[in-house]
Symmetry: C2
Subunit: 437 residues, 2 copies
């Protein structure tokens, strides 16, 4: 069979990696796919001339729209990133009847509903395995591998930069700002780290996973996001003393009233496998009613790991080129007409357990007052611990673990605790999940 010709938008980190993988493993990929894959046309403003495999590209220009309009190109691979012109390019590729492969999580999370509707209308596939957890085939696992299951929840470490920072803070007792600076120097974190450390990147990915798991449209605007920039070394240490690790998790859960979608620092028991995922690695834990908990682990970013997912998508699309569109795997796991309007819950409706730390006046009765306020709001305490005061300290850290409660109720209790004269400053509140059952 003739090779399939693809068009490549972008020759940056992931674009370069894709060229390298397609070239280096060309023979092995063709042995799997049953036909060769050739890069007929690529577009990039500027690119590294040293990219391995660059010489295999038949034509390189600087006009991405020319690639999308190239009649030679059967599959457009969008690796530019960002919202625009990625959205316009992808929509035009679809309008031209071309299949699309993209690694662009921001694009899918925000414009996926529009893009998939256009693709469905035109009978083409938009594949996006690389958008979540880099080379880990988590989209395929959730969408196909677990298709028998009623999925109950998903919890993922889906931002490598954040996980690197939290791992360093725990292992070396370092401060957030200090580790962030190192991550930037190592190239793990961008100059503007907001997307990573404030959880926006993770929220893009969680939005995608939640849609696939629960059969709902993509709803990025309803995902709650809290970053790790205010996590202090002392909370990491206190959590460890209590048998927990702090991870920046994306959590999507189906409950009776709707669906939770939230990204925030989370205490999890240190014995859980996912608590032992360290450094820049990603992992996604998926709980299905039949299969139980399953976990998928690997590199969440980087040129070659991301290219691994991009190229796997290309092979998948090559296989579907001649298939009846109605029999393909649906973009969002469920048939387009079968998406549900189950509401996404606001954070105040979400139920979780909590780690709380307040700075309490070192005097008898204060702990009892705080505990009394929690009890008054119907919040059960699992553990409470007052640290010893340092030389000359008037206030001491008071640490509590609570049982599960609605966040709205916890907010009321915290406001009341913070209003106590014996409490200095704001309470630190980190959500806590058992990730069991």
């Amino acid at each position: 069979m003739k090779p399939v010709k693809i068009g490549l938008l972008g020759l940056g980190t992931v674009g370069g990696g894709t060229v390298t993988v397609l070239t280096r493993n060309a023979a092995e990929i063709a042995r799997r796919a049953g036909r060769g894959i050739r890069i007929a046309h690529a577009a990039a403003r500027a690119y590294d001339q040293a990219i391995s495999g660059l010489e295999q590209i038949e034509r390189i220009g600087d006009d991405a729209f020319a690639v999308v309009d190239d009649p030679d190109v059967a599959i457009v691979v969008e690796l530019i990133g960002g919202y625009s012109p990625a959205r316009e390019l992808v929509l035009r590729a679809i309008a031209n009847g071309k299949h699309v492969v993209t690694a662009n999580k921001a694009l899918i999370a925000l414009h996926g509903n529009e893009i998939f509707a256009a693709a469905q209308e035109r009978g083409v596939v938009v594949a996006f395995e690389a958008a979540v957890a880099g080379g880990v085939p988590i989209i395929k696992a959730v969408r196909e591998g677990l298709a028998a299951n009623h999925i109950e929840w998903i919890a993922g470490i889906i931002n490598g930069t954040g996980n690197f920072i939290l791992t360093e803070m725990r292992e070396k007792g370092r401060d957030f700002a200090d580790v962030l600076a190192e991550a930037q120097a190592l190239g793990y974190a961008e100059a503007d780290p907001t997307f990573d450390v404030e959880g926006i990147d993770a929220a893009h990915k969680l939005t995608i996973l939640a849609a696939l798991a629960f059969g709902i449209p993509l709803q990025f605007d309803k995902t709650f996001t809290e970053g790790i920039s205010r996590i202090e070394a002392q909370d990491v240490a206190y959590a460890a003393e209590l048998g927990y690790r702090i991870k920046h998790l994306g959590i999507a859960r189906r409950v009776a009233d709707g669906i939770e979608m939230r990204v925030h620092p989370t205490l999890i028991p240190h014995r859980r496998l996912i608590a032992n995922v360290n450094g820049v690695m990603n992992a996604v834990l998926v709980k299905g009613d039949a299969v139980g908990p399953t976990l998928y682990y690997g590199a969440g970013a980087g040129a070659l790991p991301t290219a691994s997912a991009v190229v796997a998508d290309i092979v998948d699309v090559v296989r579907t080129l001649t298939s009846d569109p109605h029999n393909r795997v649906p973009h969002l796991a469920f048939q387009p007409k079968e998406l549900s309007d189950t509401p996404v819950l606001s954070m105040s409706e979400v139920e979780t357990a909590y780690y709380l730390r307040v700075s309490a006046l070192d005097k008898p009765g204060v702990m009892a007052r705080v505990a009394g306020i929690l009890g008054g709001h119907g919040i059960s305490i699992e553990a409470i611990k007052q640290k010893e005061p340092g030389e000359g300290d008037t206030h001491v850290p008071l640490i509590m673990l609570t049982h599960r409660v609605r966040e709205g109720r916890m907010n009321e209790a915290i406001a009341e605790i913070e209003a106590l004269e014996a409490i200095k400053g704001d309470a630190v509140r980190i959500r806590m999940e058992a990730l069991a059952g």
Copy 2:
């Protein structure tokens, strides 16, 4: 679209689980697959009348061949297990032009080459996700998700009974025989535990994974197998002191001269994620050249987890019903004509590091003699440790970790060490893998 009709062979643990999952999650599965799935005909000699969903089966008989010949049935689901009549049933289903889904690892490992050739010839699919690691979609991950990669090695905990026994031995310092008896009482281990504890079950699964990863035919007879029945509590403890855990791993590795396929107890660094997979859980670590290490974790057995994989396969097959057979995912990941004849290495050609324990006469110079023999065979020692003698002991345990060496050479060294007058009995030898890079 009309529901797809399936025929079910076997209503035991996995068969019952499959009925339950198909019934309980019928609506959700149909929302994904785009059409319903109905059990038109099932065959079982005897079965539990309390299986949830049993009433949904249109017809239950005791003749499996009648199911395979039933013109109503589009997909035959073989959940009888064993070699015969499973092989005859599957081949007849194929001859009848029916697709097949099976959870039978023994059948695939031993007769897969014949079965896939017949399926290829007849243009039907034989799906077997449930044959390895239960509900974990590891076949899909290796065959499709990592299709861009040159896969370097795979290491898996692929027998839950064995992992439960080793976990209990480590956590509680218990003996093998003691834990095995408990596992049998709990129903984790069969009355005849040979398949599990001697590694035959794991070897079936490893044979399948190696074929998928490396593009070679299934070669069960060339898989080296060593069980865990001779692992002693003291070796588990000494390994822990040195920073290692003992796991029963299936390892397949591509090296310059060929392919290694081996199942044996293995020391691995305790910080590796896979070292922290405990109890009956399974995990497979796959190293691809592009993606790096990825890990897949979940329940490797049980009614519902295995049914999860069986039903996912049914959904996959439903999607391919109208597809061009040449564009389907090949049974063994690579196109049938592209399988390679790369040789499988004998164990004496395999290179690995070792944990050695001998019972040495407690006299000066013995340690040096033993170390000298290893050195004489070109074997470097990473660590050597002599335990203190107990009251009245003439011999003490001498423990060594070596660097990597061909097993043939190690065998020679061990024979020479065992021949020393100062050494009592046989050496204990456990292979050791870093599972990095």
